[in-house]
Amino acid sequence: MQLLPDNFSTTGGTIDHLFYVILWITGIAFVVVQVCLLLFVILYRARPGRTAAYIHGSTPVEIIWTVVPTIILVVLGFASQGAWANLRERVPANATRIEILAEQFAWNIRYPGPDEVFNTEDDVTTINQLHVPVNQPVVVHLRSKDVIHSFFLPLLRVKQDAVPGLTTRVWFEATQPGQHEIACAELCGLGHYRMRGFLTLESPEAWQAWLTSQGKQRVAEYAP
């Protein structure tokens, strides 16, 4: 059964995997509790002549149902930690850098151009058009001009808030070419719902070609 939509990033695969692991664990707990509840209500329904048992509890049982969930949950926490550290802290050194400056209600996107250094003549800027090469890591540095926004690529399982006064970053690696969307996931005002951008995943060669073509017709100044 597929509950989550298709995923187009290597980083998203680990997220989906953890999601389904948690779904199994919670699903089993859910079924056990609901079945017990229903069963007890049916089995122990009031009937003439029935009396309830006079029981106040059981210490061994309390210990078991305290310790077992604790172990499962803490293990789940540690199992999540590897993926978390990987996604948030271990940005690959060879990652392609892109900067995004969010504003009400658009994404200002900047590429360093062929010299791979920002703030030089060959920087490429676009609005709402994010092009990303596949099969190589990309790191996005996020800032915001006005209010908090959240950079959300649903089909790549990427989400990171853009906070005024801070630079946050998020990395991912796309797996196959395609056209997707950027959504804003943090309420940013009346146009929040239409703060939509376009994501093009393409081969590194096609991406380079696109970048070069954009560099020639650069118009917008990237606001600080």
Partner: protein, 571 residues
Amino acid sequence: MTHPHREPRFLRKYVFSTDHKVIGVQFLFTGLTMLILGGLLAMLMRWQLGYPGQPLPFMEKIAPEGMPGGIMVPEYYNVLFTMHGTLMIFFAIIPILVGAFGNYLIPLNIGAGDMAFPRLNMISYWLIPPSALIMLAGFFVEGGAAAAGWTSYPPLSAVSSSAGQTCWLVSLIFLGTSSILGAVNYVTTIVNLRAPGMTFHRLPLTLWALFTTALLILFATPILAAALILLLLDKTVGTSFFLPAGLIVDGASLAHVGGQPLLWQHLFWFYSHPAVYIMILPAMGMVSDILPVFARKPIFGYRAIAYASLAIAILGMFVWGHHMFQSGMNPVLGTSFMISTMVVAVPSAVKTFNWLGTLWRGNIHLTTPMLHALGFVSMFVIGGLTGIFMASTPVDIYIHDTYFIVGHLHYVLFGGSLFGAFAGIAFWFPKMFGRLLNERWGKLHFWLTFLFFNTTMFPMFNLGMGGMQRRIYDWTQYAHLAEMGPLNRMMTVSAFLLGAVQVIFFVNFCWSLFRGKRAGNNPWQATTLEWQTSSPPPHGNFAEMPTVYHGPYEYSSPLVAEDYLPQNRKL
């Protein structure tokens, strides 16, 4: 004991009363009124989600600016979810669970004549009407009501030009003050005014829950109040607590320097995560009291449940950062908040298992309060388990700020808190008003609410898994949500039905107030002290101050012929 003083006049008796029972009922009526308002806002919101851009002609008269021609504008949608969340959390659930049941039950359950500080109690209620009026005034001021979400994150909330946001802040400062005054009273009363023999371990679990809730309010609400004042200063006099340098809004450069947007989130969630427990602990307590009555069996694991409440309160103070995993907060902090969040799920699981243990080998009577209590257990489990998805930081990357969260919180706050409130109302209504609610209508209300609640809220998980962001006016903008139409329409139809069946509850409530069957002192044959006095109890609560000899859950005890042993009956 007769009362030497004169019977108080109408105004002092029913309006500016210091009697905890009257104050409790005042909280109840206020909370239920706000519940209706909050529910209507939700239905309007669902209309836009189910039928985007379709007109609702009658709304043009009610909200000419928000819905010109009956078609909703985006600003108004933002107002709707902001005010829905605010009204439900601060003006419906907390006043009903903490205000109404706290005030009504604490003195009765501990065998006291009233609260420790009756006048403080009266003030704590009378801060609510001005607070509610200021909040609702937002709908009528320049720029409309607050529209920055119930979380009001700055800079958005601080830079908005709407006067409604200022109303929102001022109103909640009043409300926070009311909560703090109430909590001081609860703690003092429970510690000092217990009847002879009423040890802490003989307190009904509702009282344990209310005691820990009051402690949480005392520790956390002042932080919210401080944060609200700072945000109000940022918004009105130009300070920079939450606003950094270099903001450019609507093309204009703002003069703020040196503030931190994330500081608000820390302060806000330092209160608002404990607030989730403030909204669920009393319901858990009431369910722990109602299940034994209708299973005719002692609660399973009294101490485990009592200490689990304390554990939730303590651990609950250390999990606020799980709302901020994607906020730009240091990821190392994310790790520690993930572990504490995983652990805070344990005491809730322990309680659930003990409730099942209570039902096991009981003699279960499916009355209206029992149905709601069982509904609580069943639905709260979904709310609790879905929380584990968000606790896992990597999974939260995807589902944060999607409908998955909206589904989760509605299973906790409607499936949990509101079913708990319905259970409590059905259970204590005869004590409060001396008359029983109609059982047939009560059961019908339960089953229809249970059905339509699930058909409204469960699909939220599917929307969330599909990546649908929360708080968006028009989801049809997005390609990845193209398939969401039928589900959204089904939810909208369900939401309207869910709203409609609440009419059954309100009609039953109002009709039974005057025409219900007389209840007598103890219609449920329960053991706790409130049932050992008349319904409603007199001013001063007990004709003779009770002495307590037993725990609160002596059902089917072999010591007595009946299947219950009141706490104050000497053997």
